[in-house]
Amino acid sequence: MDEIHGRASLRVDATPQAVFDLITDVDWLPEWNTAIEKVLQRPPGLAEGVEWTVKMHPPHTPSWTSISRVEELDRHHLRFAYETRNGDGNPSYTKWAWEVTGAGGGAEVTVTWDVYLKTADRRYFGGPLRKRQLAREVPNSLTAMANTVTAHGPKGTNWTDEGRGDPSRMGRDHAAPGA
């Protein structure tokens, strides 16, 4: 296995801007990304080319550090892309791309991941394991993200009227076509 590709999407009952603000707030990552234990290093502000480092710790798996570098941050079109690599220096890397669009008074968030495995051990052992982990983690994280944005919301959130404060509406239309 040389590459892994996946895609997941979710409809969220919040404005696209609120969803995008949460996704691009590094400090909030451990709140909704189920594989992230904590943020180890963060830039003063998010911009193309800057990096942040997190401690990854999926359940029943040894932890590792993950370094991400922003490749695209388009606040107008609500697109966010970055490349992630393991802090142990392994040349394998993952390209993540997020896009948030308006949908039915709420937001549709779509994330894709493209993993490029560059060593024999990662191709044979780590890749297949990570593929299964991502298939579980990403949909769970999207649901947690929806819960977070509707329950708390980042500063400046502009809530939609539809579904506001109604937890039963959160995470509806959940779909993970690539998972």
């Binding site: 029943h60 798996t61 040894p62 932890s63 590792w64 220096g89 024999a120 052992f125 780590g126 394991l129």
Partner: protein
Amino acid sequence: MTRVEWDGTMRRRVLDTAGRSDAAQWEELAARALAFQPPYRPVAGSPVYHLRVDGGAIMISEHDLFGPLSDLVTAVLAIGEAR
């Protein structure tokens, strides 16, 4: 291999490469993993691992897991048989 959480919870997994079609890959990974063994430096609050390979044994803190050693521990935890 045994993963020991800081509260004493243990998770044990065993992987026997005998008869596996991918035995060579496992043996190569184990050899790379054990080529460099960091000193045992447990960190409060983090798991430690007791790893036995062909009669040899090492103890390692999760903080010191990286490269092939991390790959080996992760793979055995996921694929190994609970005993």
